[in-house]
């Protein structure tokens, strides 16, 4: 057990170093963005601009600003938004993180679980009609962008069938259904494709033959012995999959008018809202490194051969 905790501790230290590097790079790059945070720049006089810069601390040299910002961030202070009436960035984001997180997690769970089931069925009935249908679904899901599905879902389920609200975030769980489904299409397609390939290989392996020789039914063999082994490579792509889900949600959030982080991020970049850009970048980066750590731990749970640090759990 102690090996496992040492591993986690080591990884957390590495994560902090990664985050420090990301924040420094972003801070530097942001400085090269054209324009200024002031929306009506051309109407400002030099004097006004000086006053504003003074107020936001933008007149200080880059190094000093960096130190001020970083020391604030360590205390949990992400500064104030230059765009939204001087509200603290923290309170803006904390209001918006809920919907994004909920959608992301729901889409991930729905997408991978449906994908795993589809992939398994396709593998068990390899080269059959069902297999062809699953492959078709996977190809469509992979190649059609999720905002197309978003619009189609709105049209079918909200406009014609009137089962779900067309947009907004005011009907509780009902409001989350359509955006979740739209977002889950690509992880579903990815995992179905992966599981199918893996499962076909696993089902031809010796230990599956042995399981059949024990007298187990084909379904039992596939679920008890096949699935866990087929899942291992899927875990590898969980990280990249969540990243594409996070970035992909920007547009879907817009289509469904969901007050999420994605929408905020796009706006803040367009308006040079430095403190918000920094905060959202840090938020995304933290989520990503956490997911990567989580995936590494998950590896060990699924595959005893690669348990990290020699720990048993």
């Amino acid at each position: 057990m102690s090996g496992f905790f040492r591993f986690i501790l080591k990884r957390i230290v590495y994560m902090l170093i990664t985050l420090l590097l990301i924040s420094s790079c972003t801070f530097l790059l942001m400085n090269f963005l054209p324009g200024s945070p002031y929306g009506n720049e051309e109407k400002l006089t030099n004097k006004q601009r000086e006053v504003m810069n003074e107020r936001y601390g933008l007149n200080k040299p880059l190094g000093e600003r960096y130190i001020i910002y970083m020391s604030g961030m360590l205390k949990g202070d992400f500064g104030i938004s230059l765009q939204f009436g001087d509200q603290p960035v923290r309170s803006i984001l904390s209001k918006r993180i809920g919907p994004s997180l909920q959608l992301g997690i729901q889409a991930m769970i729905l997408g991978t679980s449906v994908g795993i089931i589809l992939g398994m069925i396709a593998a068990m009935f390899q080269n059959s009609f069902i297999d062809a249908i699953v492959s078709l679904i996977a190809i469509i899901g992979r190649s059609v962008p999720n905002f197309v599905f978003a619009v189609l879902l709105q049209l079918l389920f909200a406009v014609y069938l009137k089962l779900f609200p067309i947009a907004l975030w005011d009907k509780g769980f009902l409001s989350t259904v359509l955006p979740t489904v739209a977002l889950s299409v690509s992880p579903m397609a990815d995992s179905a494709r992966f599981i199918r390939t893996e499962m076909i290989e696993v089902l031809n392996s010796d230990y599956i033959e042995l399981a059949r020789a024990k007298g187990m039914s084909e379904w039992r063999v596939a679920f008890k012995h096949g699935l866990r082994n087929a899942l291992i490579p899927l875990i590898t792509i969980l990280g990249p999959m969540s990243v594409s889900l996070m970035t992909g949600s920007l547009v879907v959030e817009n289509i469904f008018a969901i007050p999420g982080i994605g929408e905020q991020f796009v706006k803040s970049i367009m308006t040079n809202d430095y403190s918000t850009i920094m905060a959202v970048t840090m938020l995304y980066s933290t989520m990503l490194v956490t997911i990567i750590l989580f995936v590494d731990i998950l590896y060990g749970i699924v595959d005893p051969r690669i348990r990290v640090g020699g720990g048993e759990y």
């Binding site: 033959e209 042995l210 399981a211 059949r212 024990k214 007298g215 187990m216 012995h225 699924v302 595959d303």
Partner: protein, 352 residues
């Protein structure tokens, strides 16, 4: 010999491939008696494994059993449904596979893997099945069995893994154990250990064993009877002594001559000339004729029947036909018979 437990009658199995239909097994008939070990020997592609897998009904999807019967307990296994076969597999007929490194599920503890067939067939609870698994671990000589039950396959050596595979096969006291080259992937010392284990287990649990191998040393060590396969057929079958000391089929001669012995006087090791027949288009007549230096004209046209040599010994070669010309059998093979007779005589003298 004892009571019949399994009878294969004229089994034909073929595989559909891109190149055409491969006739892997072409009319195999044999019986397995209670408590005996029958060795199936022959080179790669002679149909040994396919015959075994047909008994388990575990052939790949492109295989088809074209004709024949496999009688077990008075019932034809080939006419059973998949569901009925699931009740027989692992319970009445169990199998040990060739490569212990890949035969165990890497993501499941070995204890669970051994307990699985017990839970499945004997309807025992998990904890009871684990107790039986522990007994099985003791039976196959795994050190510190209580602790090892919770280990994963990668924590064991190849020999130990094969012991675990054997434990899985023995879990439900099968009436027949099919061992498909269980020692081929192991090194020599481990091979000897596994063979000893199988012999001692057979004494304890009295199951019948079909032992597939291409290693004649292993055959001499473990088998009561031997069936020699070639080109999808059984060409000679008899007791171990009959096959080793009084072989009648030229292919068996070739096999025996290609094993080096301690008193070998030849400079180079004998090898059977040519290569095995193409089972996409099997030759007419005797399958072995093309590689047989003793081939007769008749071999090219007619397939030899199984000639009876003794009550237990049969061989399929025209050389045994009363009309066949007398040939000079290879010196080393003839010497075997002399050696055997003298050994028997000295044995009798000692007793006498």
């Amino acid at each position: 010999m004892g009571e019949k437990i399994l009878e294969i009658n004229d089994l034909h199995v073929s595989f559909q491939t891109f190149a055409g239909r491969v006739q892997a097994v072409r009319g195999v008939s044999l019986t397995l008696n209670k408590g005996e070990t029958l060795a199936l020997v022959g080179e790669s592609g002679s149909g040994k494994s396919v015959t075994c897998r047909s008994i388990m009904r575990l052939l790949s999807k492109n295989a088809s059993i074209d004709s024949g019967k496999i009688i077990f307990n008075g019932e034809d296994l080939l006419s059973k449904t998949d569901k009925e076969m699931q009740h027989i597999r692992g319970k009445d007929i169990a199998m040990v596979f060739q490569d212990p490194m890949t035969s165990l599920n890497p993501t499941m503890t070995v204890g669970k893997q051994v307990a699985e067939p017990i839970i499945l067939h004997q309807k025992l609870s998990k904890s009871e099945a684990m107790k039986k698994a522990l007994e099985l671990f003791r039976l196959v000589d795994i050190p510190e069995p209580e602790k090892r039950l919770k280990y994963y396959p990668h924590q064991f050596s190849g020999g130990q893994r094969q012991r675990i595979v054997i434990a899985i096969a023995l879990a439900c006291n099968p009436k027949i154990l099919i061992a498909d080259e269980p020692t081929t992937a192991l090194d020599v010392t481990i091979k000897a250990e596994i063979l000893d284990l199988m012999k001692s287990i057979q004494k304890k649990v009295s199951t019948s064993i079909i032992f597939v191998t291409h290693d004649l040393g292993v055959v001499a060590n473990i088998a009561n009877r031997v069936a020699v396969m070639y080109g999808g057929k059984i060409v000679e079958i008899g007791t171990v002594d009959e096959i080793f000391y009084n072989p009648k089929h030229p292919y068996t001669w070739g096999l025996l001559r290609s094993v080096p012995t301690l008193d070998d006087r030849e400079d180079s090791l004998y090898a059977i000339p040519g290569s095995p027949p193409d089972l996409l288009d099997p030759p007419k007549g005797d399958v072995f004729a093309q590689r047989n230096q003793y081939a007769l004209n008749v071999d090219a046209y007619y397939e030899p029947p199984m000639f009876k040599v003794s009550q237990t010994h049969y061989a399929s070669t025209w050389l045994l036909d009363p009309r066949a010309p007398k040939i000079k059998i290879p010196q080393s093979i003839a010497a075997r018979w002399q050696y055997f007779k003298s050994k028997k005589q000295s044995f009798k003298d000692k007793r006498g």
